[in-house]
Symmetry: C2
Subunit: 582 residues, 2 copies
């Protein structure tokens, strides 16, 4: 007889019916000769009862955890005291009339229920056990639903999913490419794409008009924190659009994605210029769930006697302060820790002050006039019982950044204004100067367009040229990066020249795209959103590894398949390559 239902779907409505379930033995108990077996499948658990008189009692008695069984029986209501209100199927049980063992299992290194307590190495090695954990299944299901929702929405908006090659050409940022030796063309290599960027722009030149792809992207980098060698991007590009058009599409997309997780989003999202984000939050991906801001208090210290601040201000630096709510009672050790955090983020030091009734105290208080202290307190809206942290640096951006790190630490103790704080960070500069290499580099993406009216000063004053670049941030995470692109070859070449790519070099590295731009490319723009991160946030997971079926370790290895691995010498010979001992 065939499976009639998933275990988790056997509810009281089915009492009296005969059902066949297939699943895993989650646990078993022997109560006075009667066997109680919790059968598990992806939908949940169902309690099966085997009476001592059953002809298959011996088989049932031999069951162990994770054996795979098929059981047919009648759904009965549990007796009063046996009802389990915490279980979806807790009102019923299935009294077995037939039972088959479909497969056995060896003893396993960890329980399915406790799999998430095992070490990561062990979880990944036995991923097929770990994924039986209901939370892991829920994560994969959520990921599927998000992907489906994204596709459905974009399809409805006239976007066409186009698959771009995985075997392609080594790109600008070549150092991070995974290479694939070609057997047919010895000495040559394909590269795995870091993103479909040039292909999607080429598709705009191809008249596709609206493209998307859930695209696998590859990056051979040392895996910090929570990176993977391969990740999935909701990748989009569209023609004849402005930044606002792109924002509108993405806001609609995020609404749909959040709906799959039962969450209602309000749009449009806040737009926050980059300079303002740095000035108010000290970050280009501020966590806007919290109200706290840093404040530029430079003007309060125009006439200060404090040498450090004098020097900073005369070098056109900046002084920022932030309120530390209710921290006036904290120890010196506490403020030392915050100072360390600031230093790790580029600060030379940090001034801390405690606000008491009618006075402001602290080791550095003596350097300031009562007027300065009062103005400072007012600027950060500090109240008695609060502390105030003040940082300064000759480099304004540096000062903002370490004060942003302090803010990030402080908000951990503050109430959230909302669960989901989205913002567009806009008005990025086009180029950033790299002093070590004496060249300009794209602040974000080498294909981002400059604001049209700034083009005349591109060569004279590159740093002042504004761009059509933007980021989408959520709760302090950068979810996506997008821009309106250059659609003219000559402008693109001028920008690449500032990045120290000669015309010849640019033609080699970006040839496909440059050729497409001079053959009637429409104005276009797009964005790429990290599916792994979005899913992890919605699943309430810290790590993207919890929402990837078969992730790799921080050493870019897979304990399950034991890859990477050595290969036969004959395979290398055929590819015309050899391993060099270092």
């Amino acid at each position: 007889m065939k499976r009639t239902n998933y275990c988790g779907d056997i509810t009281a409505a089915l009492v009296g019916t005969k059902q066949t379930l297939c699943g895993w033995v989650n646990s078993y108990r022997n109560h006075g000769g009667v066997l109680f077996i919790d059968v598990r499948d992806r939908s949940g658990l169902c309690q099966v009862v085997v009476e001592p008189s059953s002809p298959f009692f011996d088989i049932a008695y031999g069951l162990r955890n994770e054996y795979v069984i098929e059981v047919t029986g009648t759904v009965k209501r549990r007796i009063e005291g046996a009802v389990n209100p915490h279980m979806k199927t807790g009102e019923i049980e299935v009294v077995a009339e037939d039972l088959k063992v479909l497969n056995t299992s060896i003893a396993l290194p960890f329980d399915v229920e406790n799999s998430r307590n095992a070490s990561e190495e062990i979880r990944l090695k036995y991923r097929y056990i770990d994924l039986r954990n209901p939370k892991m299944f829920a994560n994969l299901l959520l990921r599927h639903r998000i992907a489906q929702a994204a596709r459905r929405y974009l399809d409805g908006q006239g976007f066409i999913e186009v698959e771009t090659p995985v075997l392609t050409r080594s790109t600008p940022e070549g150092a991070r490419d995974y290479l694939v030796p070609s057997r047919v063309h010895p000495g040559e290599f394909y590269a795995l794409p870091q993103s479909p960027q040039m292909f999607k722009q080429t598709l705009m030149a191809s008249g596709i008009d609206r493209y998307f792809q859930l695209a696998r992207c590859f990056r051979d980098e040392d895996l910090r924190a929570d990176r993977q060698p391969e990740h999935t991007q909701i990748d989009m590009e569209m023609s004849f659009v402005t930044i606002d058009d792109i924002h509108e599409i993405v806001e609609g997309l995020m609404k749909e994605i959040f709906k799959t997780a039962g969450k209602e989003l309000k749009t449009p999202f806040l737009k926050l210029p980059f300079a303002q984000a740095m000035d108010q939050y000290g970050s280009d991906k501020p966590d806007l769930r919290y109200h706290l801001q840093i404040k530029n208090v430079s003007s309060l210290f125009d006439h200060t006697g404090f040498k450090v601040f004098q020097d900073v201000l005369s070098a056109n630096g900046a002084i920022y302060a932030v309120r530390a709510e209710n921290q006036a009672g904290e120890s010196r050790g506490h403020f030392d820790k915050l100072t360390e955090l600031a230093k790790k983020n580029g600060a030379k030091g940090l001034v801390w002050l405690k606000v008491k009734e009618g006075t402001v105290e602290g080791p550095a208080a003596k350097f300031f006039t009562p007027g300065e202290l009062a103005a400072l307190q007012a600027a950060v809206e500090a109240k008695p019982g609060d502390a105030i942290l003040v940082g300064s640096d000759v480099n304004v951006r540096t000062c903002q950044s370490f004060m942003g790190a302090i803010r990030k630490e402080l908000v951990k103790n503050l109430p959230k204004l909302t669960d989901w704080a989205f913002a567009w960070i806009t008005n990025f500069p086009l180029l950033e100067y790299i002093p070590e290499e004496d060249r300009w580099d794209a602040a974000h993406n080498p294909f981002t367009a400059a604001v049209e009216e700034d083009l005349p000063k591109l060569e004279q004053d590159p740093g002042s040229v504004r761009s059509y670049q933007f980021d989408l941030v959520l709760n302090g995470n950068e979810l996506a990066s997008g821009s309106v692109r250059n659609c003219r070859r000559d402008v693109q070449e001028r920008i690449l020249a500032l990045m120290k790519h000669s015309k010849e070099d640019a033609a080699i590295r970006f040839g496909m795209l440059l050729n497409a731009l001079e053959a009637g490319a429409p104005p276009h723009g797009g964005i790429g959103l990290g599916l792994d991160r979005i899913t992890a946030l919605l699943a309430g997971e810290e790590s993207i590894r919890e929402v990837i079926a078969f992730p790799k370790t921080a050493q870019a290895a897979c304990p399950l398949t034991e890859s990477p691995n050595t290969v036969d010498a004959s395979q290398l010979e055929e590819l015309g390559i050899a391993i060099i001992k270092k």
Copy 2:
């Protein structure tokens, strides 16, 4: 002003309205000073009229093919004689009130309209021009719709799309793997997957129950006819199923896919056992759009005096014949060509006979009795005016195969019974003997399950063991291959042993899967369907390259990106590999 409509959507219903179009100059004509510009976007063409008095007439006059423009104007009905009934927008034109050039274009190597007549190398090098051809856009759109339909249907059936890794382990059929050197683990390699086979089976052991993925698969083989280094598979696996369950799901899937192309399919599909397919059509992927069958006529020649047939029959070979309708009038040269075709497919020769009123003639006719000739004619249902082709071989399979090749040639002249002839080819043997290597090999897939009751004779008589393998064929193309899999490690190891994989070797090559099978793997089965081929068939294209945005040449190269290419020595050094001159 923003685009209000696609060009192809400006119909007579919009007469009198003001519209803004964005698109490419498809063509332009000057009729007595009035300019007529056909503007193209992905939806079609729209005629724009520029009056000589327009302030932007000079701009319009400077337009060339493939310039990108934005034009605003009022929709007017064309005058009587100017209506173009072959054009969707042929009743109207847009009288320009504003016109902007958004981008220019250099002169192009071929016209968009005639792009499909250019050489393949040129088409691929300028793919961004080629893809502007409406038929190419239609192909990509169809592919997108098929993919969407497949996902929607499978989602509705409880399948979950799970992404499996692209960077994984070199697999059983290692010789065809693309390898990726690991920088972090020098001397080791990832491999790109030939299919997600082992991962999807592992997902079944993980309790996913129903998995699918539109999966990129990679194969480094010499590109015959119509293969690509990477292709996309609609990959599925499900637990607790029989062959019939899998067939039912796939039939529903094909119905949905065909619906997107406006075609209604009848299900269930014909089921044709492998032995019968070979006996009747001489092929395991018969083109069943045609009625013609080959016939085993061995028994008619039990007492023949023809030495060749005598020898074949005494060696347990076979004789097959096929009717060649209306070919009695063909020349010797025609039959020589058919003989060549048979030889190319393994035949030593071919007997051909012409059926006339009351007699059967031909060079070999003299070797047969009138009774034999009459029986032969009756067996293949040949009529006067037809020819009969007869082949024989000591190896029955060889005889069927070359007669199958002859049949494939003959049906080209026959009427179709239907446009879309699907069939399941079933009852494949589990194993095939490889004499050169003195071992057994999987007839299809090493993970296919044997029919349970045949398991006892697995070691004694491997060739007689039946399998749960099946193929899906459409119009002579193999679209998909599937099976119910082994779900027990011991059985899988016995089969691998017959393929000459020791336990140790099997553990290295198939470790992940074998480990999963002994840890409570459910019974499961699945299938992989070729998305490229399905799309090509529905698009009416001969080659899958016509339904892939950026395909590679038969030399596995991409003329657009010029990949593969040489890379910097420093990149190789970092990977710890060197190029060996052969």
